[in-house]
Every structure is written in structure tokens, then in C-alpha cells.
């Protein structure tokens, strides 16, 4: 595989967040979220994205073949996106894994705050969120909780649904705010473009 064989598509969510879907797997060990340059140390992909000049990247989330980048700078995604693409290609071409495995908690350590949150969020998803989206043939998977940020993946009728962002922000996020107020945010790592049976099919003009 050469860097030229790697296909990357960008899916800006807003001026601060953009998903990058890569034709090759970047990280097979679940979700990794990096909220700072320090946390990115040891993961070449995240290191390179945090180092993009002028982008002011504040968060990188990697799961499978999906990279979500959060930035604070006014630089438009089309400009930053090219640098992210170069970082992805370089990381895949390197000798080391693009993303290091998530550090295991120390032996005997008690459950972390994220672990506790995970259990509460998982319970909320099981008891309330998924029964609701199931009415539209959808499913929301809790992927991980890192630094009180919940990472979800939508499936079934939710994947590619024209109203997925409404479900995420006005539904899931609102419920989390109400029932698990310690949660600081929700990140959708779904590849919506691959959704084949969305409940509401958005027009594509």
C-alpha cells in the first residue's frame, strides 16, 4: 500500500469539528481520545495532528478508520484538512502503530471517574435511549467515556438519518445533561455516509 492508495474523505460537522473517514484502519483497539498534546505522546497520528501549525487542535478521537478532530482556530477545514490528511498518510506509512493502545489502569486501582460515568451512561442508554431510537429502527452504541466525554456510534435507522444531529443534540445530549450532568460532551463517531437504511433519508440536492 502506498500513501496514494489511501482514501480519506472529510466530513465537517461545524467550524470546530470534522470527521475524516480513512480507507485503512488506524486503530483497532476501540476508541482513543486525546485531549492534549501530552496525551498524544506515543501515538504518532495524534501527535502529528496536534502539531499542525495554526490549527489549534484541542481534541483528536480515533476509532477504527475514523478520525474526529476538534480545533479552536479560525482556519477553515479545507486548509486544516489537508494537513490532517498528510498526518494520516504519514502515520500509516510509519513503523509504529498510528495510535498506541489505551493504557491499562494500574493493577488494583479503583474504578476511575470515567468508568463510573460509563456505567451510568450505559444504563441510561439501555433503559431509555435505545428503547426510544428503536422505534425508528435505530440503535446508539456507547463506545467509550473519556474525560467525561461520551463517544457514541449510531446504527440502523439512525446511521445516515437526516435528523441524526437532532437526535444527538436534542435527544441524547439533552438526556445526558438531565440524568448524568457530569458528562461534559457527546461526540458522534458514526460514519453516516455509509448508512444504508436511514429512517429519514435526507435529500441530496
Amino acid at each position: 500500500m502506498t500513501p496514494g492508495d489511501i482514501r480519506i474523505s472529510a466530513e465537517p460537522i461545524d467550524s470546530g469539528r470534522c470527521k475524516f473517514l480513512v480507507s485503512e484502519q488506524l486503530h483497532g483497539g476501540g476508541v482513543r481520545r486525546f485531549a492534549s498534546r501530552d496525551e498524544a505522546q506515543g501515538s504518532p497520528l495524534a501527535e502529528a495532528i496536534f502539531a499542525i501549525p495554526g490549527a489549534d487542535v484541542v481534541e483528536v478521537i480515533v476509532s477504527g478508520n475514523l478520525v474526529t478532530v476538534v480545533k479552536q482556530s479560525p482556519a477553515p477545514w479545507p486548509v486544516v484538512g489537508k494537513a490532517v490528511g498528510q498526518a494520516i498518510r504519514a502515520a500509516l506509512a510509519g513503523d509504529r502503530p498510528a495510535v498506541a493502545a489505551k493504557p491499562a489502569p494500574a493493577a488494583g486501582a479503583s474504578a476511575t471517574a470515567d468508568d463510573v460515568l460509563y456505567e451510568r451512561v450505559a444504563d441510561l442508554f439501555d433503559q431509555q435511549v435505545n428503547p426510544m431510537v428503536a422505534r425508528h429502527g435505530g440503535r446508539v452504541e456507547l463506545i467509550d467515556v473519556q474525560d467525561a466525554v461520551v463517544m457514541v456510534r449510531m446504527a440502523g435507522g439512525c446511521q445516515g438519518c437526516g435528523m441524526a444531529d437532532v437526535t444527538l443534540r436534542q435527544g441524547i445530549e439533552a438526556m445526558l445533561h438531565q440524568h448524568v450532568p457530569e458528562v461534559r460532551g457527546v461526540v458522534d463517531i458514526t460514519d453516516h455516509a455509509a448508512g444504508s437504511n436511514p429512517y429519514f433519508a435526507a435529500a441530496k440536492k
Partner: protein, 419 residues
């Protein structure tokens, strides 16, 4: 923070852009659709169902809601919800357009009647029923002419005819399009056909914001590919316009006169105009922002770097609806353009090759293939869905246009061999 009511029909492709813009503003958001969200009971202040097919009923529902949760603004995102938003704005006494103005903007015939009466330059036009015999009309039509539906968007069903024989064929073809279930569902407008003279000249798109009865031009897009028919599939939009400044002024004046003739006083407008030796002509004006995901080509506010500060068109629209301060309505300094990728031929798409090569073209920002493998692509005039979009930015409009063409030339659409 003020509460905004955002009208999002479930079929819209604008959801994420508007919802995320509202989040950036930090406003309280209520999303209304014509079908209930499964979370509505769990979040009754953030989600509601409105009868979007009946604006007066929707306005009554919104007024009931606002008695408990006061609303500071309402925004529709397309032609139909612009009418609903106007009705709600009137019921609540918040910023908005008169209902009649948005209805006129939505209906191509009513729009031409009003514009013609106000002496805004529009093509000569006549309205016909779909069940009329086109052979009886063909002798009275000025050639070249254009046949078009009253409500469809993205130039779906719009055809040029240069001769009576072409007119008869185009009329019959549009009749078949109007009989398709998704179109026939819109009722009476699907039983009428507009026939108008073809106006030659450069076509331009104007993106604007009506502010208290005055037009603020946000962007003027050149369309460098001639739109002379027989079908009117869009391709390239590039801003800033390369037309002379007096032509640009004439186009802005024409668009403002049109908006005011319709009665539009607040909110986004998108106008399609032509410019020739006789001046500016209004082809169509809508009370909504530009479609086709093309808002992605616009960013507002400029800093020392010359880069946009990230204020999207959606954010500008929401701020205006809520009466929040808008730092700048000036578009970023650089040239920007978008190419709506043409449908190369009818068929079931297998894959698109050359995407990476297209992305590698200098100045190209994004190549977004929105068509999926297995999707049936339908060319104009029956179709209205572009298989993807190419965005580019650069120092000059010429360079941006060249980049868009170069990127498009690297794409290859592969269809199922059974087609």
C-alpha cells in the same frame, strides 16, 4: 439565552449545519419537524412536532408552545418552511416576513406576476395547465422559450425549446415529471406549467440577507459555464464575481427591487439573475439560503490572516433572526467556488475513481462524493441530485474556477455494467 425555533423538515439535508450553528451561538434551541422525534416526550422544550403543511395551524401550535417557553426567533430552512416561519413570526410578533411574501417567493408564477407588476425585469411568461394540448400553445410561444414547473427546485424539469416541435416534446416531458408521485403530492402547483421567454446572457446567483427591508449582498456568484439549455443543471459557482462593478450594482438593485416587490423584508434571499446588454433580469428569487450544500463555499468575517473566522451563512441567518449582533457580513477575502458535479449519465453507480487525485489539485479544499455505490443517478431534467460537490479557494476567481475544472477532470464515474 434567547430561545430559537428551528423548522427542520425531516427530509432536509441542512440539519447539521443549522443545529451546529445554533450550538455555536449558545442559544436555547427548539427543533420542530412535521413528524415527531422519539425523544420529544423526554425533551419537550427542545423538540416539537408542527403541522408544517398548514402554516396557520403550525403558527397556532407554536403560539401555544411560546406561552410556556417564550420564543425569540424562528427560522425556516427551505421554501416551504420559510412560509411556516413567516406565519409563526407573525403570530409571535418576532422578526420575520409576511406570509404572503414567502408564498409568492415559493410560487414561480405568482412571483412573476408580482415582479412584472412592479416593473422588475422578468422574462415574458404564461401559465398553462398540464392537461392542455401543447400543440395548441406552440404557435403562441416566443422562441426560444423555457418550460418549467412552479415549485420544483434545482432546475428539475426546466427545459428550453427553440421550435414548436421542441416545445411540444418539452411540455410532454415536464408533464410526465409532474406526474411522478413525489411531485404530484404537492397538489395544484404540480398541475401547472410555466412557459417563459429564454433570456440570454450570463447567469449569476446572488446570496443576500434582507435586513429591515434593505438587501445586504453577501455574495455574488458567477456561473462560468453557459446555462443555455436544453437543460439547466448547475455546475460551477465562483465568487467574487468578475462582472464589472456597474453590472454587479445593477444585479443587486434588481434583486432588492424583486425582494421588496414580493414583500420580503427580513432574512435570507437567494436570487438567480441574468445579465445582458439590456441589463439585469430577475429569473427567480427564494426566501431561503442557497441550496445544494453550497453554503459551504461561504464564510464571513475577515481577520488579518485573510481567512474567514468561521462564521457560516447559517450562523449569520440565526443571529439575524434572533436580533443578535453580527460582527461582519463581509465574506472572507479570498475567492471561493463550488462545483456541483454533473451526472455523467443515467445508471447505477458502482464507484467514483480519482477522488484522491482530484483532492490533490492545488486550491481544491474538499471533494465530497455524496452519491453512494448502488445509487441510481438520474440526469436532468428528471433528476435533481448532484452526485457530489467540489470546493476550492484561492487568491483569484480565475484560479478557483480552473482548480474546480481540473479536479472534476480527474474524476471517473464507474457504473454497473448491466446498465
Amino acid at each position: 439565552m434567547p430561545r430559537l425555533l428551528l423548522l427542520l423538515p425531516t427530509a432536509t439535508y441542512r440539519t447539521a449545519a443549522f443545529v451546529e450553528a445554533a450550538r455555536r451561538l449558545g442559544v436555547e434551541l427548539t427543533v420542530a419537524s412535521e413528524r415527531p422525534s422519539t425523544f420529544q416526550a423526554a425533551n419537550p422544550t427542545g423538540l416539537m412536532t408542527l403541522d408544517l403543511a398548514h402554516p396557520e395551524r403550525a403558527a397556532e401550535q407554536a403560539r401555544e408552545f411560546a406561552r410556556v417557553y417564550p420564543l425569540a426567533g424562528v427560522v425556516g430552512v427551505d421554501d416551504d418552511t420559510a412560509v411556516v416561519a413567516a406565519a409563526i413570526a407573525g403570530a409571535l410578533g418576532v422578526r420575520g416576513n409576511p406570509v404572503a411574501a414567502t408564498e409568492a417567493a415559493r410560487d414561480k408564477y405568482e412571483q412573476r406576476e408580482l415582479l412584472s407588476a412592479a416593473r422588475v425585469p422578468v422574462p415574458r411568461f404564461a401559465l398553462h395547465r398540464v392537461n392542455e394540448d401543447p400543440r395548441g400553445i406552440a404557435g403562441r410561444v416566443p422562441y426560444p422559450c423555457v418550460v418549467k414547473p412552479l415549485r420544483l427546485s434545482a432546475s428539475r424539469g426546466v427545459m428550453r425549446a427553440d421550435t414548436p416541435a421542441q416545445f411540444v416534446a418539452a411540455f410532454g416531458r415536464l408533464r410526465r415529471i409532474l406526474a411522478e408521485p413525489d411531485v404530484a403530492a404537492c397538489g395544484e402547483p404540480a398541475r401547472r406549467i410555466l412557459v417563459e421567454e429564454f433570456v440570454p446572457g450570463a447567469e449569476i446567483a446572488l446570496e443576500g440577507l434582507m435586513v429591515d427591508g434593505g438587501l445586504r449582498v453577501l455574495a455574488l456568484f458567477d456561473k462560468p459555464d453557459p446555462l443555455d439549455g436544453p437543460y439547466f443543471e448547475e455546475t460551477i459557482y465562483v465568487t467574487p464575481s468578475r462582472l464589472p462593478s456597474d453590472a454587479q450594482r445593477a444585479l443587486a438593485i434588481c434583486a432588492e427591487r424583486a425582494a421588496l416587490a414580493l414583500g420580503l423584508v427580513q432574512g435570507p434571499v437567494h436570487a438567480e439573475l441574468r445579465y445582458n446588454e439590456r441589463g439585469a433580469w430577475l429569473i427567480e428569487l427564494a426566501a431561503r439560503p442557497i441550496g445544494g450544500r453550497c453554503t459551504g463555499a461561504l464564510r464571513f468575517g475577515t481577520g488579518d490572516s485573510g481567512l474567514g473566522d468561521g462564521a457560516s451563512l447559517e450562523e449569520i441567518i440565526l443571529r439575524h433572526a434572533l436580533g443578535l449582533p453580527i460582527a461582519s457580513l463581509e465574506r472572507e477575502v479570498c475567492a471561493s467556488g463550488v462545483m456541483m458535479i454533473p451526472v455523467p449519465r443515467p445508471g447505477v453507480l458502482r464507484q467514483v475513481e480519482g477522488v484522491e487525485a482530484a483532492r490533490a489539485v492545488p486550491l481544491v479544499d474538499v471533494v465530497d462524493i455524496t452519491a453512494h455505490p448502488g445509487e441510481t443517478l438520474v440526469p436532468w431534467p428528471e433528476g435533481s441530485r448532484y452526485p457530489g460537490f467540489i470546493f476550492a479557494r484561492g487568491p483569484t476567481a480565475e484560479g478557483v474556477e480552473q482548480a474546480l475544472r481540473a479536479a472534476h477532470a480527474r474524476l471517473r464515474f464507474v457504473f454497473d455494467s448491466t446498465d
